[in-house]
């Protein structure tokens, strides 16, 4: 089986007048289709840079990134990679529906059926009454769900989530991460979530990749497994109450701490 994503010895540095900063050094990992990977690490470790590289918005100085065995040549790989940013960045001058249709609109594939399909997705996730509302009329959690639908509208099979919950308050954050996890798992998408919140990473992912401080290197990749029958299908919120949760938290906490 060809892996969904292969990141092979990727390094990337920033260039400034004051000198060169190595942001990422020899990053290496592989993802199978349908897998959910969380990337955790201290702030400034190059987590977002890694996502920009995978999405094709930046190109690595060294190494290769392969999607389905082929190199990514243009940003978003023709809609096969969806990138969700930290803030929703919904355009205030557009309705929610028109915001969600942005991807197909840009690629010129927005038909009236496609539009109806996207409206259906919005309705499925509780935004049916807000299709023609302005973003400012929605709560933070609703906006973030609308932003996810916008990302999903191009039907990507790899999703990149750059701290999508960090701008939300704690309660909204728990419920939105539940929603988003359900959406992604039911559609059987491959996803990478970048976060600095370890408990969020454990609650949502199949594996957690820990990056070191700058220059970011892979410190450890920890598989998250819940033994009980209930554990394997648990939602992020339910996972937080399972017996293994605390153990994983302590293990990852140590991984993050030890290199300092």
């Amino acid at each position: 089986m060809i892996p969904k994503l292969e990141v092979k010895g990727v390094s990337c540095s920033y260039h400034r007048m004051e000198g060169e900063t190595l942001a990422l050094s020899h990053i290496e990992f592989t993802m199978n289709p349908g897998e959910f990977l969380a990337i955790a690490g201290p702030s400034g470790c190059g987590k977002s840079t890694l996502l920009s590289l995978i999405c094709g918005l930046l190109s690595p100085d060294q190494g290769k990134i392969l999607l389905d065995g082929k190199e990514v040549t243009r940003p978003g790989a023709g809609g096969r990679i969806g990138y969700m940013l930290q803030k929703d960045h919904l355009f205030e001058w557009r309705s929610i529906l028109s915001n969600a249709c942005l991807g197909p609109e840009l690629s010129g594939s927005l038909t009236s059926e496609r539009k109806e399909e996207i409206a259906g997705m919005l309705s499925d996730y509780g935004l049916g009454a807000f299709l023609h509302s302005r973003p400012s009329e929605l709560s933070g959690g609703m906006r973030q769900r609308a932003a996810l639908i916008r990302t999903l509208a191009l039907k990507p099979d790899l999703l990149l989530l750059d701290e999508p919950f960090s701008a939300l308050d704690y309660q909204t954050r728990l419920s939105v991460s539940d929603d988003i996890s359900t959406i992604i798992r039911s559609a059987n998408k491959t996803a990478i979530l970048v976060t600095h919140d370890l408990s969020e990473a454990i609650s949502i992912a199949d594996r957690v990749l820990v990056l070191t401080k700058r220059p970011g290197q892979v410190k450890a990749i920890v598989p998250i497994r819940f033994e009980s029958e209930k554990g394997r299908t648990a939602s992020p919120l339910e996972r937080r109450n399972l017996p293994e949760f605390a153990g994983y938290f302590n293990q990852l906490w140590k991984e993050i701490q030890t290199h300092e």
């Binding site: 918005l57 978003g76 023709g78 809609g79 803030k87 960045h89 355009f91 840009l106």
Partner: protein
């Protein structure tokens, strides 16, 4: 409705009434004082004119049509230069946005031209372009243009970079960034810039008419000072006030239309 809310509403409407009637009273007081002091020869109405003289001047000017002629000339020149400023400044700011190196090259020249007092250019423009309408329009454009370009460019370059990243990640091009993000996000900036520019264009037109023209409100002001007809001069200034209010209200109306859509 609770009695406290009702009381609040009554207080608010009373407050608005006080402000509105205060404005009218202040204006009337000014006119009455002016008229009375002129009538009692406390001030010389030959030099300071008076409200009744201005009214009769306005009347005779509208009877012989000169009111509409001169106002029309000034208004036309202002609108033409305003239109040119909008088009040229938007075009240039977009060009500079798409080519940052070009901006860095011409930035010091733009800053210099912007801070140069444009009235100093008017005499040279008369020599170069002759004593005609186009000189006035060029003078008016030069007053507003450079500041407009700088303001628009600064606004364009402050567009949130993550919004741009979003467009690229969805497979969009630079053209999409321009049409889907930059222009829609800049509409409030463009409107506020228009408000400033309309005023500046009027300033430029009057400067131009002072120096080279045979018609327009600026010409009337200069002409009446040369023949020492102070009432005509003050009347022209009164009309000018009306013109500037008219232009400002026009743009406010446009703003309301755009924000309603």
């Amino acid at each position: 409705m609770s009695s406290a809310q009702r009381e609040f509403l009554v207080r608010q409407s009373r407050h608005r009434l006080v402000v509105r009637s205060g404005r009218i009273l202040l204006f009337l007081l000014f006119l009455i004082l002016w008229e009375i002091t002129a009538k009692l020869h406390l001030i010389d109405s030959f030099i300071f004119s008076s409200p009744s003289l201005i009214l009769s001047c306005l009347w005779s000017m509208s009877v012989d049509g000169s009111l509409f002629y001169h106002t029309g000339v000034t208004l036309w020149e202002t609108l033409l230069s305003f239109f040119l400023v909008i088009v040229i400044s938007l075009g240039t700011a977009l060009l500079l946005w798409s080519n940052k190196t070009l901006f860095e090259v011409i930035e010091p020249f733009l800053v210099m031209l912007n801070s140069l007092p444009k009235s100093a250019l008017a005499p040279i423009l008369i020599v170069w372009l002759g004593n005609r309408t186009r000189t006035i329009v060029v003078a008016a454009v030069s007053v507003a243009l450079f500041g407009a370009i700088l303001t628009l460019y600064t606004g364009f370059s402050q567009i949130n970079s993550d919004k741009v990243k979003l467009i690229y990640s969805l497979g969009g091009s630079k053209k999409d960034v321009l049409l889907k993000v930059l222009l829609p996000a800049s509409i409030p900036l463009i409107i506020s810039n228009m408000k400033v520019n309309a005023g500046l264009c009027l300033v430029g037109v009057i400067i131009g008419e002072f120096l080279s023209s045979k018609a327009g409100l600026g010409f009337l002001i200069i002409y009446s000072s040369q023949v020492f007809q102070m009432t005509l001069m003050v009347t022209s200034i009164v009309i000018l006030c009306g013109v500037s209010v008219l232009i400002y209200q026009g743009i406010t109306l446009l703003e309301k239309r755009l924000s309603a859509n």
